[in-house]
């Protein structure tokens, strides 16, 4: 781990995190903070999805389940048991990771399209369960009272704290991607992504690695979900388990370059900024998905390696610095 400090990429991530944290503080710009909070959330979701998609080569449509379940566990602990925010977040992360480990050993026996379909099944199953689970408010969801922000110094102050925490989760996601990519575990995952049978014959414990990465990729999104829904003070199944957010995380990965840390992060940032612009612009507001779709089509056709694939081929030296 100490070796990572000597890598320039470590400091690039640190710089990005500091920039995120300071940018809205400087001008006390609340609308910029809200926009950057969504960027940080997208970067977290996409980076963790990338562990499955870009490293191990498994298309996971169900990544949003981690986010939603994390949100539910956190909101439930805060609401029903008056737990403080931070322990609730940690329990949400660990709980969802543990569930993912159990699920992972089951559904990761499937490959390719079958796995992808099974992950959609996981979303549907979890959503159906939550809609009928009375302690979590069923399909009506759970509202949090305004009281919850008191321990954090009132609503205005709390929103800043939540923002900094979300940026920290984003930073941890980037470091996690970086650390795994430069480890033996990461090498095994990349081998699985290239040719799973050959990897097994070379001695990579494929089932264990796949279940482990599925579980690891659940941890930080669950915490991000907890933060997000705590901030909204409201959670309901259709928001928590929204398939389109899962799909967007996949698109972001392809946009930036699967398997790269930098590309996925920049892809998420650009995608979310673009989406924000399209949604608020008077010209595009009604067909923002058409624009996003056309963009995806162009990328798949002309830049199959995504943004980083393009940069790597133009400036080969960047490969040594940008993971």
């Amino acid at each position: 781990m100490l070796l990572m400090l000597r890598r320039p990429f470590f400091w690039i991530i640190a710089l990005a995190v500091v920039a995120f944290a300071l940018a809205p503080v400087v001008g006390n710009d609340v609308s910029m903070r809200e926009s950057l909070l969504l960027d940080a959330l997208y970067i977290t979701l996409a980076s963790n999805l990338n562990l499955m998609l870009g490293y191990a080569g498994y298309v996971n449509f169900g990544s949003i389940v981690f986010f939603g379940l994390g949100g539910y566990i956190c909101v439930w602990l805060v609401n029903s048991y008056n737990w403080p925010l931070i322990p609730s977040l940690i329990v949400a992360g660990l709980g969802v990771s543990g569930l993912a480990l159990i699920f992972g050993f089951g559904i990761l026996r499937l490959r390719g399209a079958f796995f992808a379909l099974a992950t959609i099944g996981v979303i549907e199953a979890v959503q159906a369960f939550v809609e009928n689970f009375t302690p979590w408010g069923g399909s009506a969801g759970v509202y949090l009272s305004g009281e919850i922000f008191k321990p954090l110094g009132g609503p205005a102050h709390a929103l800043w704290i939540i923002y900094f925490m979300m940026v920290a989760v984003m930073g941890l996601s980037l470091y996690l991607s970086f650390a795994i990519k430069t480890s033996k575990f990461g090498l095994g995952l990349l081998a699985i992504g290239q040719n799973e049978d050959a990897a097994a014959i070379l001695g990579v414990p494929t089932s264990r690695y796949k279940a482990l990465v599925y579980s690891v990729s659940a941890f930080l999104p669950a915490i991000a979900g907890g933060l997000y829904f705590f901030k909204s003070a409201f959670i309901q199944p259709s928001d928590a388990f929204d398939l389109s957010l899962s799909t967007e995380a996949l698109v972001v990965g392809m946009l930036g370059g699967e398997g790269t840390v930098t590309g996925v992060a920049i892809g998420a940032f650009l995608y979310e900024e673009l989406r924000g612009y399209l949604l608020t612009s008077s010209t595009f507001a009604n067909f923002q998905l058409v624009v996003s779709g056309a963009l995806l089509l162009l990328i798949v056709l002309f830049f199959p390696g995504g943004l980083m694939g393009f940069i790597y081929s133009r400036f080969p030296r960047t490969q040594k610095v940008l993971e």
Partner: protein
């Protein structure tokens, strides 16, 4: 010589096809054992049974005194048994060196990453791929990919190396080069079990030969003995003249 790998009455059936039947033989430490036989004789199936891609229906496989029958491929690799594939299986988007690092990391010694890189470099050098170490596996020629298979298996520091037709599809110069590589690997004390259709090559490389036909053992012995075995000539070599030639070349 002690036996490294022992097969006892191993059998495997795929539906109506008995691919391997009651097969017993052993691979002794330090030798090169050649495995020959007509197409469909069960040679590649046998490799898949040994390294755990399929579990045998009957029989027992022992490696260095440990029963490995039906163990998963990744567990078998940890015991020190590495193989190449007849149809090359490179990790296409990774470099030659990275491919070999995977082999070294997850092979017999379960090396940490930095030591695995050193082992990988060594394997790349032995197989003569130094110049291509940073090339992506997908950019190699077929001969290069065959060598990569070998380098990657070797990087795992195996006790037993199983080679599935590493000479197939190579031109005469490349064949000669590859034979040199195989000899060098053997000199490092690695035991080799190899499937090969190229008669001259296998007859001159092998210490002993096992002949398979319809999943059963037809003959076993030193190359000269096997080449004059009447049933081998009938089932596989086909013409007595070739048999006579091979006897001459291996004597």
């Amino acid at each position: 010589m002690t036996a490294l790998l022992v097969l006892e009455k191993v059998g495997k059936r795929f539906g109506g096809l008995q691919a391997v039947k009651d097969l017993s033989f052993e691979v002794r430490e330090g030798e090169i054992l050649g495995l020959i036989g007509p197409n469909g004789a069960g040679k590649s199936t046998l490799f898949n049974l040994i390294n755990g891609v399929f579990a045998p229906d009957t029989g027992r496989i022992t490696f260095v005194g440990t029963d490995i029958t039906g163990e998963k491929p990744y567990r078998v690799a940890r015991h020190g048994l590495a193989r190449t594939h007849q149809i090359v299986q490179p990790l296409t988007n990774m470099t030659v060196l990275e491919n070999c690092t995977v082999g070294a990391c997850f092979g017999k010694d379960n090396l940490p990453l930095h030591r695995a890189r050193a082992a990988a470099r060594d394997a790349v050098a032995v197989t003569g791929l130094q110049d291509r170490a940073e090339a992506r596996a997908s950019q190699l020629t077929i001969a290069g990919k065959k060598r990569l298979e070998l380098a990657r298996a070797l990087a795992a520091q195996p006790k037993l190396l199983m080679l599935d037709e590493v000479l197939a599809g190579l031109n005469p110069t490349e064949v000669e080069h590859m034979i040199g590589v195989i000899r060098r690997i053997r000199e490092r004390g690695v035991t080799i079990l190899m499937i090969e259709h190229l008669m001259q090559a296998i007859m001159s490389l092998s210490d002993r030969i096992v002949v398979l036909n319809f999943g059963q053992k037809l003959a076993e012995g030193v190359p000269a003995e096997v080449a004059q075995h009447p049933q081998v000539i009938e089932a596989y070599l086909g013409n007595p003249k070739l048999a006579a030639e091979l006897q001459g070349s291996s004597a």
